[in-house]
Amino acid sequence: MKHTISVLVENHAGVLARVAGLFARRGFNIDSLAVGVTDDVNISRITIVADGSDYTLEQIEKQLNKLIDVIKVKTLAPENMVSRELILIKVSCSPKQRPEIISICELAHGKISDISANSITIEISDSTNALNNFEELLRPYGIKEIVRTGTIAIQKGEAAVSVRN
């Protein structure tokens, strides 16, 4: 099962290595990992999508909590979160194909970020599943390159994963 875990850490050198090392040596599988600073510059957030049983998830949470630089660990409930990933996708595109691709892009609420004579680059932020579907729609045109950020997620409603609560 996939789990989305939001981890607040001290913004120290080496923290990411500790977190990644923990996953590697304990055999936890990471699907994606995204890091960024929070509103407090001393704190970073690592959003991890991990795969495993409930037992594994419990161990992941507990072992993460044991790392001294980890301030808070919260697994987000799938029905109660907004999760997004950003994709940049470059497809072969002759001038003739442009209108077709642009309309697919509009349907998917994507944005054209670059156009050249024979290629087009689109950016979309959406759930991982939606991005996968979109990728399939574009595949027939010839995908040249894909860059994805890894998932970030936030809880719905007023609840927040923050050091203030």
Partner: protein
């Protein structure tokens, strides 16, 4: 606030933490610190290999209950410590490891004796610091000691570049620390304590498993009180050995792959299992077949241990001495004087499961190690500290040693050969008045032999018993039982005479090969107030469980 070098500040930090002895081995990158150690009044014990600085600090810390310090230079020095760090980590031993590092502007360039020690040791430390900013010195040391010595104890590494050691700072040691991301819990959850109390009172066949956490948490006495008050039988893990005096009528031995029948019978038949500071590793739980409907109460300071090996019905996270205090109070409030449970039938059943195969006669010219350890018991004063190495010798000792308020130390989680002598050196340094004995095999002894010099140089009167069977016995036994007796790479042919080795260090010694000579040897060993080595001629092909 005082102006001084970081190197001096480091010694001031150690003194502020009450450190009087440290174990180490110098090299260029740690020389600024050594130059200050020299002026500091701290007693530095020069080991003969860095790994033993780590093991000695481990033995020291396990006796004092407080973080002990070891130190090494950059590169090979630091790397030589890793096995000791991992050994301490597996057994939750509080330790501060100080390593020298190359100059900070050279880090990452593969300069002479550079090793990424914080990176290499990461899987085996509770935490680590690379001290890059001189002004962080005091805070880093304060935090390191706090982290190592609280919560689930463990090793904390501080890596200090050589140029940082020489830098000048304004120094003042902080009085307190607060780490927002590290707040180990102390009190147990009140609701779970109540549930535990009710469950324990209703149990027909309760059982306590005493783990090493009882020593880290200084709670062995409270455990004994709990056992006594409610007549609960106790068994022990390898790490918990000695928490219950071995001659207590409620004590039913050690659990584990090499444990005893009565302990196995107890776990397999109890209806309520009270796990106290025990993580039930694979080796410990090897013989267990937990019954359906069994209630498990698991008390541990580390939430990650609860539910890891066995599912817990009543999980209680907290400092074990505080939690046991809460539990005893709750039980006092709940139970009325005349309704105190008695478990005579349950104890009788367990008593019947005690098996003693007796002591087999061995060939002439040899001593039965089981007999030997039991004989040794007669000579050991109260509060003795026995350190067992790894191998058959470890279990001959663990299963037969009598512990009367004494301590038994061994490398449990890592099973690191060569632990006993350096750990004994640490224990003896911490507790100079205690009788401290290292029991090792001839294989393990050859890994730690150089530390005899440390004993002589620093006048550390550790007693060493070498169980000489001319084999890596435990592996030999494994090959016998599981690999068609194809003995390969387990003979220790070519080994020296251990008494002659002792002679060349000027250490008193004796070779014993009969009951009579063994008695004489034990007498001389325990009467001596200097280092002493006893070589015991043990038959070549004995089993672990005798």
């Amino acid at each position: 606030m005082q102006r001084m070098t970081v190197a001096k500040a480091m010694t001031e930090c150690l003194k502020a933490e009450g450190i009087t002895d440290i174990f180490g081995y110098p090299g260029a990158a740690i020389c600024p610190f050594y130059d200050e150690l020299y002026k500091s009044g701290i007693n530095h014990i020069l080991v003969r290999h860095e790994v033993n600085a780590g093991h000695s600090a481990s033995g020291y810390a396990r006796i004092t209950g407080k973080p002990a310090v070891c130190v090494a230079t950059s590169g090979p020095g630091a790397l030589n410590l890793i096995t000791a760090i991992a050994t301490a980590y597996m057994d939750s031993v509080p330790m501060i490891i100080i390593t020298g590092q190359v100059n900070s502007d050279q880090i990452g360039r593969d300069v002479f004796q550079e090793a990424d020690i914080t990176g290499s040791a990461e899987p085996f430390v509770k935490h680590s610091y690379l001290l890059k900013r001189p002004e962080d010195t005091a805070e880093v040391f304060k935090k390191a000691f706090y982290i190592a010595g609280t919560g689930r104890r463990g090793p904390v590494l501080i890596d200090v570049p050589c140029d940082v050691q020489k830098a000048e700072i304004d120094f003042e040691y902080p009085e307190s620390v607060d780490i927002r991301s590290y707040r180990p819990s102390s009190k147990g959850n009140g609701y779970q304590i109540k549930r535990a109390a009710v469950t324990i009172l209703e149990a027909k066949k309760p059982l306590i498993i005493a783990g090493g956490g009882l020593f880290s948490g200084n709670a062995a006495e409270l455990m004994r009180e709990l056992s006594e008050k409610l007549d609960i039988p106790v068994i022990s893990t390898l790490m918990g050995l000695g928490a219950m005096p071995t001659d207590n009528e409620r004590y039913f031995g050690m659990l584990g792959m090499h444990g005893c029948e009565s302990a196995k019978c107890a776990v397999n038949n109890c209806d309520t299992l009270i796990l106290l500071g025990a993580r039930l590793s694979d080796r410990t739980s090897a013989p267990i077949m937990l019954k359906k409907g069994l209630t498990v109460i698991h008390i541990d300071i580390d939430p990650a241990e609860i539910g890891k090996s066995v599912a817990a019905n009543i999980p209680i996270v907290g400092d074990i001495s505080i939690v046991l205090g809460q539990l005893l109070e709750q039980l006092n409030n709940t139970v009325s004087e005349n309704a105190v449970p008695k478990h005579d039938e349950w104890k009788a059943m367990l008593s019947q499961s005690r098996v003693d195969k007796g002591i087999k006669q061995v060939e002439k010219g040899f001593v039965n190690p089981k007999w030997f350890i039991r004989e040794l018991n007669n000579y050991l004063p109260n509060r003795s500290i026995v350190v067992a190495d790894v191998g058959e010798n470890q279990f001959w000792t663990a299963l037969n040693i009598e512990l009367k308020n004494g301590r038994f130390l061994t490398s449990g989680g890592m099973g690191t050969m060569g632990y006993s002598l350096p750990a004994a050196i640490g224990a003896k340094t911490a507790e100079p008045n205690a009788e401290v004995i290292a029991v090792c095999g001839d294989g393990s002894f050859q890994m730690e032999m150089p530390e005899l010099a440390t004993c002589v140089q620093h006048n550390i009167a550790v007693k060493v018993i070498v169980m000489r069977n001319k084999y890596l016995g435990m592996v030999r036994e494994f090959q016998t039982n599981h690999y068609g007796n194809r003995l390969y790479a387990v003979s220790l042919d070519g080994s020296p005479s251990y008494t002659k080795i002792a002679d060349s260090y000027g250490i008193e010694n004796m070779l014993v090969d009969s009951k009579e000579s063994a008695k004489e040897g034990i007498k001389r060993l325990t009467e001596s107030n200097k280092p002493f080595l006893l070589e015991v001629a043990v038959p070549e092909m004995l089993e672990t469980i005798l």
